[in-house]
């Protein structure tokens, strides 16, 4: 397959341009919400330190609250971000860039493993289910998928800890390394990654299974497949070469749209497993109304979603010659 690089480059360029107004809206909206929020960041900053005097509260408010209307706040935030300064996190008493840099790698690792896992596993199970529509495998996988879709990741995580860490005692229940050691070795990382990645994979799995199953079984009724069968092409080639290829198209769109879901799922899973990713910082930022950190995280999430959609469209265009990248 030849990649039409000029068309790809043009698509990326168009999307980058389109991303500008989206990012402006997202971040401006973030600051508007912050301005309208009934929650008081100073109250959160003080936390449980009861007995803070009015004088202390006033001084903190003067130091911590930004000046001006939310549009002015947004503008000064934007100019400093463009200058490379993401501001200061109130809740974590650190520069926002440091908060993100320290944690984002672990989150990316977890999300990437879970995402690749759910795409591959979802495709395999979906094809198996579609091969004989209404058969026992199809019924089993479909009903499992519906059940899992209804199960909150948080609950799945607790169940996994109970089973694998407590009853079977084969996998650690949380953290990045053994609680008593500081060095991250590949072996211990792998064993600590296993449960959170598995739970996140499973929570993302149902959509992929059901989409692939539907796509492939629809494709099996299409003319090209019938034609291939009539020509005596082997069932295996029909299934994987013809039906899967056209049945995967809707799944590629799904890849883009599942990114936000993946991020939310990761937040819960990371919290349960004490995974040192961005989740604990996000939860902290939200509950402590730490708007500088929230603004940066919202901007990054928006970028992740846009990138996910772009990736899906590119793959779509590459997988299906009928789709013209120039028209997307």
């Amino acid at each position: 397959m030849t990649v039409p690089w000029p068309a790809v480059a043009r698509l990326v360029g168009r999307r980058l341009l389109a991303a500008v107004p989206v990012m402006v809206l997202v971040t401006l909206g973030m600051f508007a919400v912050a301005a309208a929020s009934p929650f008081d960041p100073v109250r959160r900053y003080v936390g449980d330190a009861s007995g803070a005097s009015q004088e202390t509260l006033d001084a903190l408010r003067a130091n911590l609250s930004p000046d001006g209307t939310f549009v002015e706040q947004w503008w000064s935030w934007l100019t400093s971000v463009l200058g490379g300064d993401l501001g200061q996190s109130m809740a974590l008493r650190q520069p926002v860039s440091q908060v993100i840099a320290e944690r984002v790698g672990w989150s990316l690792l977890l999300c990437a493993v879970a995402f690749v896992g759910s795409v591959l596993l979802g495709t395999a199970l979906g094809v198996l289910a579609a091969r004989r529509e209404g058969g026992p495998l199809d019924r089993l996988f479909s009903s499992l998928a519906y059940t899992l879709q209804a199960a909150p990741p948080f609950w799945l995580a607790l169940l996994a800890i109970w089973l694998f860490a407590l009853q079977l005692d084969v996998l650690p229940a949380g953290g990045l390394t053994d609680a008593g050691s500081d060095t991250v070795t590949a072996g211990s990382l792998l064993s600590h990654l296993a449960l959170p990645a598995a739970v996140l994979t499973i929570s993302q799995l149902p959509w992929f299974v059901l989409y692939v199953r539907q796509g492939v079984s629809d494709a099996l009724h299409e003319d090209p497949v019938r034609g291939a069968r009539a020509r005596g092409v082997s069932e295996r080639t029909v299934l994987l070469g013809h039906a899967l290829r056209s049945g995967l198209l809707p799944v590629l769109t799904l890849v883009g749209t599942r990114v936000p879901e993946l991020i939310t799922g990761a937040l819960l899973v990371e919290t349960v497993f004490s995974w040192p990713g961005i989740a604990s910082a996000t939860v902290r930022a939200a509950t402590d109304t730490d708007f500088p950190l929230l603004a940066a995280l919202a901007a990054f999430s928006a970028l992740a979603v846009l990138a996910g959609n772009l990736l899906a469209d590119l793959l779509y265009g590459l997988a299906d010659p009928r789709v013209d990248l120039n028209e997307m």
Binding site: P38, F39, D40, R43, Y45, V46, G47, D48, A49, S50, G51, A52, S53, Q54, E55, T56, L57, A59, L60, N63, L64, Q88, A91, L92, R93, Q94, P95, Q98, V99, E102, R103, L158, I161, W162, A165, L166, D169, L171, P172, A173, G174, G175, L176, D178, A179, G180, S181, D182, S188, S191, E270, T271, V272, S274, W275, P276, G277, A279, S280, A281
Partner: protein, 534 residues
């Protein structure tokens, strides 16, 4: 100090230690050889619920002592008595109570090898008091007028007003001027890479996962026997209990209902730490119902504190009659009030609060009703609030219980009651002055009930200013008796903090704990003094 050890099954301590070691070997956390083979364990992994925001004392980390990484000029012993730490002795106090002089140790270095001097003390206090420093607890040092070095090895504090409990505040950890001096105090690297003089050194902080501490071999008080302390951050109670059970954690703070599950576990001990952490209902003075002294006294008699301790706290707590715990030496003996629902009803009847057809009371057209708030999501306070309202209903007072965020509650404090909490065991002034002095009525989060009682004001001032312990004791005793006559708060319970831990070390005790119990409190408050059981 009460440490209740609940060991079921009656196994001998030696056998328990062996069991711990056996259990430890099968646990995934013991792939290394830190169990030492024969039951002694020179490392401990503690599960905590809340991660500190910062490890810098300049922003409030460890302000009540036990910070592990730092030392204060003074420190509290197991009985909350003061003893010198970085100071060589307790301070010399001038006759007018306005100057405190601390001679300092000369043999102490920070973990980066730099010597500790008076300049570090001056830097720490001056930075905290600087208006640009976002330290929420700086009000606790409000009495300080100036702090000056007297040579390299002594500091002198000058106070704005005589403040008898001042020495209690100097348990505050001392930061290194050289390490922290040229950074932005609010967001600088010192918040995550602290340099202190304490028994432990921070080796790694993986935010959201854990904080790793290693014994400081150069510690001036001698190198701790427990060489590694890991604080694993596990916010969810159930997950914390599960990881404790799987052997991943050696110790954890747990709610009483989950701690109960470990009662029959061999080799685990449950430790109830008494605290000054009270739950009380504010009775705003400006509300015609809660401001009425008869209503206040009737409510005080009508609440069944024993039942709240049994049913809400599952026994892990004590009835509270004022902010000072009944076990404290400062508690005024004989001010306990027995549960007396009938007496409360009679009292209201005599005061003219007559029962109406709807079962509630009224006087001169004023119905006996008010609203009680609790912060949304706080289960403990919710249950206290509901129990309080149902006790009040029995004597004909109609309380509407509502929940809201603090932002909503803040605006209602002058009118409505709120289920409040707090407590600082170090000195009665810290407990009572901010709760009761009329000067602080409605000031920030002080005196939320807007309590105003001239006699109490005078006694509080006397207790704060007098340098004579006997005079202070008499003053605080009188305050507590005055609170029986005019209870501006209904104190309900003191909440024990419950910990479950492996029984593998000697010298494990608890202090009376404050409301806010971070990683410094709990049985590991003095982990540097534990001995590894051989």
């Amino acid at each position: 100090m009460t440490v209740r050890r609940l060991i079921r099954g009656g196994a001998a301590p030696g056998a328990l230690a062996v069991l711990v070691a056996v259990a430890g070997c099968s646990a995934p956390s013991d792939e290394g050889d830190d169990s030492g083979g024969s039951g002694g364990q020179d490392s401990v992994v503690v599960g905590i619920a809340n991660e500190p925001e910062t490890l810098s004392p300049l922003l409030g980390y460890g302000k009540d002592g036990n910070s592990k990484i730092f030392d204060g000029l003074l420190r509290h012993d197991g009985e909350m008595g003061l003893e010198p730490a970085l100071a060589t002795e307790l301070p010399e106090i001038s006759d007018d109570g306005l100057t405190y002089r601390y001679p300092l140790r000369e043999d102490v270095s920070f973990s980066d090898g730099q010597p500790f001097t008076a300049a570090d003390v001056v830097f720490t206090y001056e930075t905290i008091l600087d208006p640009g420093t976002n330290n929420a607890a700086k009000g606790e040092l409000d009495a300080i007028d100036s702090v000056e070095a007297d040579g390299d090895h002594a500091v002198v504090f000058t106070l704005k007003y005589p403040f008898a409990p001042f020495a209690e505040r100097t348990v505050l950890p001392i930061a290194s001027e050289r390490a922290a001096g040229d950074q932005d105090v609010n967001t600088g690297a010192y918040n995550t890479e602290p340099v202190g003089t304490g028994p432990y050194v921070l080796t790694d902080w993986s935010p959201g996962e854990r904080i790793s501490l290693t014994a400081n071999p150069e510690y001036w008080g001698g190198e701790p026997e427990v060489r590694r302390v890991t604080m694993a951050v596990v916010p969810d109670d159930d997950v914390r209990a599960t990881r404790l059970r799987s052997g991943d954690l050696d110790a954890a703070v747990l709610p009483p209902n989950l701690a109960e599950g470990f009662a029959d576990e061999d080799g685990m001990v449950t430790i109830n730490a008494e605290s000054a952490d009270f739950r009380a209902v504010t009775l705003p003075s400006d509300n015609p119902v809660t401001g009425d002294v008869d209503i206040r006294r009737a409510l005080d008699l009508a609440v069944d504190r024993e039942l709240m301790v049994e049913s809400i706290l599952l026994g892990a707590g004590h009835p509270a009659y004022n902010a000072i715990p009944t076990a404290s030496p400062w508690f005024a003996e004989g001010t306990e009030r027995a549960f007396d629902r009938e007496g409360a009803g009679q009292l209201l009847e005599q005061a003219g609060w007559a029962l109406q057809d709807d079962g509630f009371r009224a006087r001169d057209g004023q119905r006996a009703e008010f609203t009680l708030w609790y912060p949304a999501g706080d289960r403990l306070r919710q249950e206290h609030a509901l129990a309080y309202a149902s006790d009040a209903k029995e004597i004909g007072i109609d309380i509407t219980v509502e929940s809201g965020s603090w932002e909503i509650i803040d605006g209602q404090l002058a009118e409505d009651a709120v289920l409040s909490g707090g407590g600082d065991p170090a000195d009665p002034d810290f407990q009572l002055y901010t709760l009761l002095h009329s000067e602080l009525a409605g000031n920030g989060y002080n005196n939320m009930a807007h309590y105003r009682n001239p006699a109490v004001d005078e006694l509080l001032d006397e207790g704060r200013q007098s340098g004579d312990p006997a005079e202070r004791e008499a003053a605080y005793e009188a305050v507590q008796r005055e609170l029986v006559e005019d209870p501006g708060y209904t104190f309900l319970t003191h909440v024990d903090h419950v910990y479950v831990m492996a029984d593998a070390w000697d010298g494990v005790t608890t202090q009376v704990e404050p409301h806010d119990h971070g990683l410094g409190h709990g049985p590991w408050w003095n982990v540097e003094d534990w001995r590894v059981r051989s």
